[in-house]
Each structure stands twice: as C-alpha cells, then as structure tokens.
Symmetry: C2
Subunit: 333 residues, 2 copies
C-alpha cells in the first residue's frame, strides 16, 4: 500500500477488502468519504471492482429519537448475532454530526462491545456535507462492508431530521425504536416515519416500565392496523424490548428474519433493491446537474434572485424556471 | 379575442379574467394545458401578468379512494359555501384520467350543482402527460382561478397514486375522506397519506352506518394522537360527515376555517406557501433539465443502458452517473 499522496492501488485494496483486512477497508471508506477529485475517482474504480461481491448482506435501518437507547440496543443486538455466527457492521447517517460534538452517531465509544469484536465493525457518520453527500458516502460504504463479508449491516440514524427517509431507502428493513409512554415522545420524530416502519420496537421495557411499554405497544398495534402496510406481504409488528437487559432481542431478530425470508420468496426484496439503486442513480444525477448549474456564478445569481421573487409570490415558478434556463443557455454549462 | 391560431391578446384575456369572464378563464386554462410552445409562452406571460392578483384564495385539497363519495360531498359542501357568499372553484388532479374513460375526476356531470352555479367553477383534470405535467397545469390553473376571484379552491384527487402528495403540496389544508369500517378500506389508499392529513372525515355517516362511522372516527383519533401532527399549531381532527345528507359539513368547514385562521396568525400559512412555491420551482427546473438530457438520443441511450445495469446490480450508481455525465459533456446539452 502506497502513501496517502500517490494513487492508491485499487487491486491491492480490493483484494484486501475481500480477504477481510480491516485496515484496508477503513482506507477504502476514507477514499469514499474524501472530497478530493482523485480520491473520488479511485473510490469509484474500487466500487466498480467490488460490485460483483456486494448485495449479499441483510441491510437493516434503525431510527429513534436521542435517548431511545439506539446504541445500547444495537450493541447488545449485534453481540447476540455475532454469537450466532454472524459478522455485523454498523454505519451511521447523521448530517448534523460533528467530530467535535458530544453525541456522535456510530461513535465507537458508544458501542464498545461491537467495536472491539473481530466480527464487528462500527463506522461513525461521515461528518462533512449535505444530507445528499452523507447519504452517498454511507451507501457506498455499505457496498464496501458487504464486499468485506459482513452479512448483517445496520444503518442507524437519529429520528429527527430528513435522514430517516434516506436510510429507509437504502435498507431491506426499517426499524423504528420508540419509548414507552403516550404519543408525546413522538413529537420529536419526523412525520411519516411511523408509516414507513417495517417494525416498531418499544425499547426500555424494563424495571417499572414493562407494563407501560406493553400498553404503548398495544396502542401502536391499533394505530398501525389503520395505516397501509409497507408491503402487501407484511404487516409491521410492534414488539417490546429492553436493549439494556437483552430482553426481546431474539424476537426482534426472528421478525426481521421472517420479513427477509418472506420478501425474498415473493421476489419483493430484489425489486425493492433495484428500485432503490435506480432512484439513487437518478437522485445523484439530478444533484450533480444542479451542482453544475449553481457552480456558474451568473446562473447562480439569476437563480438566487428568481428564488427570492418566487418566495414572495412576485414571480410565477414556471416563469422563474424559464429565466434560469435562459441563463444556463447563455453559459457553457 | 382573436382566433385560435393567432397569438392571443394577453391583456384582453387578463382583464377578462379579472372581471370574472368565464369564457376567457376557460380559454386561459386551455393555454396553460396546451403543449404547443407558443401557447406555453402566452400562458406564462399571462400568469406573470396575473401574479399580483393571486394568492388570495383558501386552497383546500381533498383525497379519498373511489367510492368514498368525493364528488357528492364536494358538490354539497360547495353549495353550502356559495349560499354563505363564497365563490368556489374545483380542480382535479388525476394523471390516470382519460376523457374517454368512465370516471373522470372533476367531470362536470359529477358535480351538477356546482358546475351550473354562477358562483361555482368545475374543471376536470388535464388529461395529458405525466404526474409532473398534470401537477404543473393544475397549479397554474389554480393561480388563474384565484385571479378570477374564486375565494375557495378545492383541488381533488383520487387517493390511490402519487398525486396526493403533489396535491398536498399545492394547498393550505389537506383533507382525507375515509369510509366507515375497520382499516380495510385504507388498503387502497397510498402510504403516508393519513400522516399528511390536516383532517380526516369519515364520510357516509348516514343510515345504519352512523355508529360504525363514529367508531371508526374514534379509532382514527387514537391513531392520529400517536402520529406527529402536520403543524405544531394543529392537531388534525377526525369528524364524521354525510355528504349525501349534508350532515356535518358545517363542522367540516369550521375546522378548515379555524386551521386557516390559526396558521395565518402564526405566519405559518405564508411560510408554507413560500416553501411550496420554491419547491415547485426547483422540481420544475430539475424536470426540465432532465428533459433536455434525455432529449438527446445518444445520452438517452447511455442512460437507459446505465439504468438497466444499475437495476441488476452490475454497475454502481455513482459510476453510472459518471458515465451519463460524460455522455452529456460529449453533446451540446
């Protein structure tokens, strides 16, 4: 492996990843996360090289507001799966995270068992960029850890922003963790998240909160029965768990596994993944096209002006678009 | 007014619309719906001319599966509002509609009272094009009928596709009509719709279905209490109505009115509209940019090939995007 400033040897890194070399996997993720153009090119070459080795893991998304116990639960859940012979990777998506901040999603210190286990791999959220940027990096990292042979990948995100939908759109199964209690704790969770859940788990069903958790679960069961399920082949279950006390995590896994088997059998899983990939491609294409446009100073000025006038109802949006496209045509974009 | 093939006199049409001339309003909408380039240019000039006269109506979206009684309810609801001194316009969004088909949304024959009332205006869904196209036409028509002095505009859509989100994103208030009964009838309604509702009305609460409707309403009230409300200032109510028997439509209106007053007072309504307009502008810009790209045969070929290879997991989406952009750069797009 060469030093950081020469072109990385794609073949060496690829083979290292396929052989489970964690240092080379980490180096590959760093390439994916880099904004340097040459790093980006290397990252894409590497991804393309590894594509035939991706797609074999079970991809699980987990969300919940801060304090719901995501880290404790994932740490314990991952340990259980490792003792069953699995290899677990945990990735985080949090566009608001800062390395200097207090609560870093996926921070290794939060999942001490998983992070120190040879069959566990924990990667914090990429810290730079927009939601789109963070999402791209996480998706590509997911492909890398799949190629590295992790057979269960957990993508976690905090349930207060727009990242949940992005995460739900890169996984096979989307789990929402909630706290025992009325609906109040949900005030913090983004709209629409409960409706895209493949399962709800009421966490912290321990100590004196067991009965409250059971009541909450019953309430959510009734509510979900009134909503359209995520799939014609799946009615999202509601379970109670205690990540801290390792209670109910076996049931949690058996449901996730049942979902996977059912959707694999119906062909729906493959279809879901195809749709996700194509949507990702199209979103990325749109984003790159917009970046090109706004990268031109003159066009960016026209656009900012148009946006401001549309905002105050002075300019019809369709007229604004005409003006922006005219500006684009006046440049070499 | 000149004949169809010469350029329409924008000033004449604009003044006609401002003076409540229905024939000129209809002609303007035809311009908006036309795909002819010169018509499109006239439509935009007209829109821009009328912009200062838009934004004054109360915009209400209504959705529900076929058979829920949308037409009967809207017809009766509109009549009530007209007798209170309002002027009502009803627009429809249905990308699947065909003029030759059986159930045409907004078809005048479905809302006989409103369509024949001098203070009512009913416009069927534009029949051509994609959801994006139909949405654009409906949004622009909405601006035209606002300029024509209709103070309440109802945009209806059938709750089985993707058009509900588009409609919710062009109105101030989004109403979901449901049938009395368990959750079964919801199987037909699109995911996420209940969560974006500003109110749910259980329709057909008449005859022997009154008690069942009340029970359904209670169920939905419990369910909605567990979901995040659409606004911090608004908890979506659940009411029972009978459009056929004109029962509960007064309560329906009083809730919609209360929502409007509350959100106007907090400034949230203005903010919602600004966000909608800017989002509309950006979506339209993206759409037009993509049209330009796929309008080039060579790029379209590269894109179709890339999409197919991404779909089967052979090509990484980010690599596909690079290939498409390289093709774009090789053309004059």
């Amino acid at each position: 492996m060469r030093s950081g400033d020469t072109a990385p040897d794609i073949e060496v890194i690829a083979n290292g990843i396929l052989n489970g070399d964690r240092a080379l996997l980490a180096r590959a993720i760093t390439l994916v996360e880099s904004t340097r153009r040459d790093h980006q090119e290397s990252a894409r070459a590497l991804l393309q090289r590894l594509m035939p080795h991706t797609g074999k893991a079970h991809r699980i998304g987990v969300t919940g507001v801060p304090g719901v116990g995501k880290s404790t639960t994932i740490d314990q859940f991952g340990r259980n799966l490792i003792s069953d012979g699995h290899r677990i990777a945990v990735l985080a998506v949090d566009p608001t995270s800062k390395r200097t901040g207090g609560s870093i999603l996926g921070d290794k210190t939060r999942m001490t068992h998983l992070a120190s286990d040879p069959n566990g791999f924990v990667r914090p959220s990429p810290t730079s960029g927009t939601l789109g940027g963070v999402t791209r990096k996480t998706r590509e990292t997911l492909l890398l850890v799949e190629a590295a042979g992790y057979d269960i990948i957990i993508v976690e995100t905090v349930g207060v922003g727009q990242s949940e939908v992005a995460v739900a759109d890169m996984v096979d199964f989307f789990l929402v963790l909630l706290l025992p209690g009325g609906g109040d704790e949900l005030q913090g969770i983004k709209k629409g998240i409960v409706e895209i859940a493949d399962m709800i788990a009421i966490n912290k069903a321990d100590g004196d909160k067991v009965r409250l958790a059971e009541r909450s679960a019953a309430d959510y069961r009734n509510a979900l029965a009134l909503l359209t399920p995520t799939s014609p082949n799946w009615q999202p279950p509601v379970v109670t768990i205690s990540g801290r006390d390792n209670v109910g995590l076996d049931v949690l896994w058996s449901k996730i596994d049942a979902h996977n088997q059912r959707l694999t059998a119906t062909g729906e899983l493959q279809q879901r993944r195809s749709l996700q990939s194509v949507r990702w491609m199209k979103d990325m294409l749109t984003e790159r096209l917009m970046e090109r446009i706004t990268g031109d100073g003159a066009v960016a000025d026209v656009m900012a002006d148009a946006e401001q006038r549309v905002q105050c109802g002075e300019l019809a949006p369709s007229v604004a678009v005409d003006a922006i496209l005219a500006a684009v045509d006046g440049t070499s974009v």
